[in-house]
């Protein structure tokens, strides 16, 4: 008997319309856990590096995490993996909501899609009955609208729907997959879904998910709930309010946006407005949020209410999460009313709330600087808000300049030429980043920005305070009940860390300490992504309820896999390395591993080189960031080493395949 997981995947060939239920190998669960881990293995085995993201041979995998569907609070994430049309690397965007547990209750751990349907279709999974249905009547419909229409036509109000909007259908490189109150937005996975002719995956399940040691597992869950209550009642003192509690940053609750609006960049991530926030704006924005926000809402089995139902006047209701509250507002130099309004269209169209506003601000910057002209924007309104709405409509339809912009700032700049590349300045690995520009290099963040393969800072940071505490007392207070650390040395680092002087940034924490800190932070995110846990209760906040000490117990009692901290660390390292292996095979090298050039004003090239050299070595990667034969052997990944050998990856790295793909795209 399989515990926590169902032991079955759904294999769907959209070209032939073939559907199979395939038993999985329990040994793979031991080695790669589930979710992201087993997704990385499947992509490695079945998607060779020559595969174009829009080839029928590219796979699109929807996976529930290993512990989804069990009572573990907040364990509800769907991990969607494929090859990204934007980065040309392995994408693993994720979403919360209600979809993954429902898939488990229907009897599957993953849905693996290959091929392309000639007509627009949707997949209807109802326990053992799975069918591909015509979706031609849903063409062009919004993602939220689609979910409602499907539930209605199937007469299944409790079915969970993951759908794309117009952007996905038109293969916009930053198209999202929307579901419930959540979405898998990053790296253009919605475009791959659209390319496959798949409008939605609809799931309804009424079967059991079993755990191996019931009483023990429930006790662990109860401890977590108790600790969540404790943390809700005891926010961490001395840090910014959004870092003091659990959950995703509680953007739907807060009215005071002084910190974001004055520290994050406006427009195309360039302008800082240091005195923006005042009483009048505070009053207006509070009124906007209070009028439009109907309710604070949660994902499946989670008390954190990180989302909200938003009803902008005259527009349909939608559900919003986190920082998309401000991304449109700030990119357009506008106000909250505009931001919450345009986010309604953006949710229906199904686009990423980080990349989209930035792409539009980028276009307008090119226009202001004469690189794009009136001819590129026929009929565009004169006001900024109107321009953003106009551009959004063009992009999701791929009309005119929208067709170029729909490829994201990196590819659009190359297509436009005339120096446009200078304006696509906020990317890592061709992917738009949070609009942040800071003064002095932070060595921990340097490593995270450079080497993170989720290519999103929020998906690697967490656990360790972002800045030192000013007084010794504050530090001592903080470490007193900091039991989440994997080793007490992290407490000492924090105790010694000063805001200025000898033990301050950028030379303290030392290079080796930075490696340890980043490795811990990244490890926790990777564990979450295999188990399906929301980082908001685990890897992202300070002092979370899930940590390296209770996770092995959850896996043992839940999935019945004998687990301890070392074994879990090793398994995580194994599939983390496999993610990198997929990307190395697709041509990613050291030169791709850098933060945006202008992220920090004060840079330290020698230190940065030392950081990257040391971190690579620490991770078992060579100076190009390629996992060495020895480290692969130690992880039982000899098959990766053999592949690297046969491709000549160890001997020459001059013409990696992603470069070839990039060239092909350009011509």
């Amino acid at each position: 008997m399989r515990y926590a997981e169902t032991g079955f995947n759904l294999e769907v060939d959209l070209t032939r319309g073939n559907i199979e239920r395939v038993a999985t190998d329990p040994r793979d669960t031991e080695l790669y856990l589930g979710g992201l881990g087993t997704n990385a293995k499947i992509l490695w085995d079945r998607v060779p590096p020559e595969t174009d993201p829009f080839s029928p041979d590219n796979l699109l995998i929807f996976s529930a995490g290993l512990l989804c569907g069990t009572p573990a609070t907040g364990c509800n994430r769907t991990i969607v993996s494929t090859i990204s049309p934007q980065t040309l690397l392995m994408a693993f965007s994720m979403m919360g909501g209600f979809w993954a547990p429902e898939l488990k209750y229907a009897g599957y751990d993953k849905v693996i899609l290959r091929g392309k349907s000639p007509n627009l279709v949707y997949l209807w999974i109802n326990n053992d009955k799975v069918e591909i249905r015509d979706a031609s009547h849903l063409k062009g419909k919004g993602a939220v609208e689609t979910a409602e229409l499907i539930r209605h036509e199937l007469k299944e109000p409790k079915a969970q729907v993951a759908a794309i909007g117009l952007a996905g259908e038109n293969r916009v490189y930053f198209a999202s997959i929307e579901q419930g109150r959540s979405s898998a937005s990053r790296q253009g996975i919605g475009a791959v879904m659209g390319d496959k002719g798949l409008k939605a995956i609809v799931v309804r399940g009424t079967k059991d998910v079993n755990v191996a040691k019931p009483a023990e597992y429930m006790e662990l869950c109860n401890e977590v709930l108790k600790y969540i209550k404790f943390r809700n009642e005891n926010p961490i003192p001395g840090v910014m309010p959004i870092l003091a509690g659990l959950g995703s940053p509680q953007e739907m609750k807060v009215h005071d946006e002084k910190w974001h609006t004055e520290n994050f960049m406006w427009g195309n991530s360039r302008v800082r407005r240091k005195d923006f926030w005042n009483d009048e704006i505070a009053r207006q924005w509070a009124e906007t949020l209070d009028t439009m926000r109907t309710r604070l809402i949660s994902c499946y089995n989670c008390p954190m209410t990180c989302g909200a139902t938003i009803s902008p006047p005259g527009l349909p209701t939608y559900m919003m999460k986190c920082f998309s509250k401000l991304t449109y507002t700030m990119a357009a130099f506008s106000d909250l009313e505009f931001g919450l309004g345009i986010a309604q269209s953006a949710t229906e169209y199904g686009v990423d709330g980080f990349s989209t506003p930035q792409v539009m601000a980028f276009a307008l910057e090119l226009y202001e600087n004469g690189i794009l002209t009136d001819d590129d924007f026929p009929g565009m309104p004169a006001d900024n808000e109107g321009r953003f709405r106009w551009l959004l409509d063009r992009i999701v339809r791929r009309e005119g300049i929208g067709d170029v912009l729909a490829n994201g700032t990196y590819w659009a700049a190359r297509q436009i030429g005339k120096g446009a590349e200078e304006y696509a300045h906020n990317n890592i690995k061709k992917h738009e980043q949070l609009p942040l520009k800071l003064s002095m290099l932070n060595p921990i963040y340097f490593l995270m920005y450079s080497t993170g393969e989720k290519i999103n800072i929020t998906q690697i940071e967490g656990q360790f305070p972002q800045a030192p505490f000013f007084t010794v007392e504050e530090r001592e207070d903080f470490v007193r009940d900091w039991f989440q650390v994997p080793d007490d040395k992290f407490k000492q680092i924090l105790l010694d860390w000063e805001p200025r002087g000898e033990k301050s940034m950028p030379y303290y924490p030392t290079v080796q300490m930075c490696c340890d800190i980043v490795d811990w932070q990244e490890r926790m995110h990777y564990i979450d992504d295999a188990l399906g846990m929301c980082s908001g209760l685990s890897s992202f906040p300070l002092k979370p309820p899930y940590h390296i000490h209770n996770y092995p117990k959850f896996i043992s009692a839940g999935a019945g896999i004998d687990m301890d901290e070392d074994k879990l660390t090793q398994a995580t390292k194994r599939y983390r390395t496999l993610v990198r292996a997929n990307n190395i095979r697709r041509g990613m090298r050291r030169k791709d591993e850098a933060p945006p050039q202008n992220h920090w004003k004060k840079r330290f090239p020698d230190l940065e080189k030392e950081l990257l050299d040391t971190y690579y070595k620490f991770k078992g990667w060579n100076e190009q960031g390629i996992p060495t034969k020895e480290s692969l052997h130690e992880l039982g990944l000899d098959y990766v080493a053999e592949d690297f050998e046969s491709r000549g990856i160890y001997s020459e790295t001059e013409n990696p395949s992603s470069e070839i793909l990039a060239e092909a795209k350009n011509n």
């Binding site: 209600f98 998910v209 008390p303 139902t309």
Partner: protein, 182 residues
């Protein structure tokens, strides 16, 4: 005269305004009622279900009540604070008109038992797991008339007699009792 007696009434107060729609109550319920306890998880077996329509801001946790062999002839609608609700949204019955409160495999009706257990739980598990405080457990003492049931029978019979006449009711009663004995 009926004798008055004291009785503990167990209540779960449902504050629909506080519900965040997370369904933790369903998770806790299905785990508690699986055998062995906590071994299985399946909200479809839960004896509490959140009636959710997020886009209309409708979130109603409903507990499974009595089994009803037939569905209602008419369905009323309620408008509360401008939101329209189907009557079924508040109904606790396990009935043929919907798929909730039935075991998914057998179709047998489910009913909330307030997590009856030995030793008794301090509160039903769904209440313990609702950190949104939408569910609150309350016990109150009520004075009830012991033979209230008898009165019900009397009222019922009288209305039957009014409707069908004394003789017809007597005939029917004797026929039923004969067939039950037979």
């Amino acid at each position: 005269m009926a004798e008055k007696k004291k009785k503990i009434v167990k209540t779960i107060k449902v504050d629909v305004d506080k519900c965040n729609g997370c369904r933790a109550c369903e998770v806790a319920c299905s785990a508690f009622h699986s055998a062995p306890k906590y071994s299985g998880n399946n909200p479809a077996r839960s004896r509490i279900r959140v009636i959710r329509e997020p886009l209309r801001d409708i979130y109603i946790p409903v507990y499974a009540g009595e089994y009803a062999s037939a569905e209602c002839m008419g369905r009323d609608k309620y408008v509360i604070d401008g939101k329209e609700y189907e009557e079924c949204a508040f109904c606790r019955a396990s009935c043929p008109s919907r798929d909730i409160f039935k075991e998914p495999d057998s179709g047998l009706p489910l009913k909330c038992d307030m997590c009856q257990d030995d030793p008794t739980l301090e509160k039903p598990l769904c209440v313990q797991w609702c950190l949104a405080d939408a569910l609150t457990y309350e016990e109150r003492e009520e004075e009830v008339e012991e033979d209230v049931k008898l009165e019900d029978v009397e009222i019922g019979l009288e209305s039957m007699i009014d409707k069908y006449g004394w003789e017809k009711v007597m005939d029917t009663v004797s026929r039923i009792s004969a067939s039950k004995k037979g």
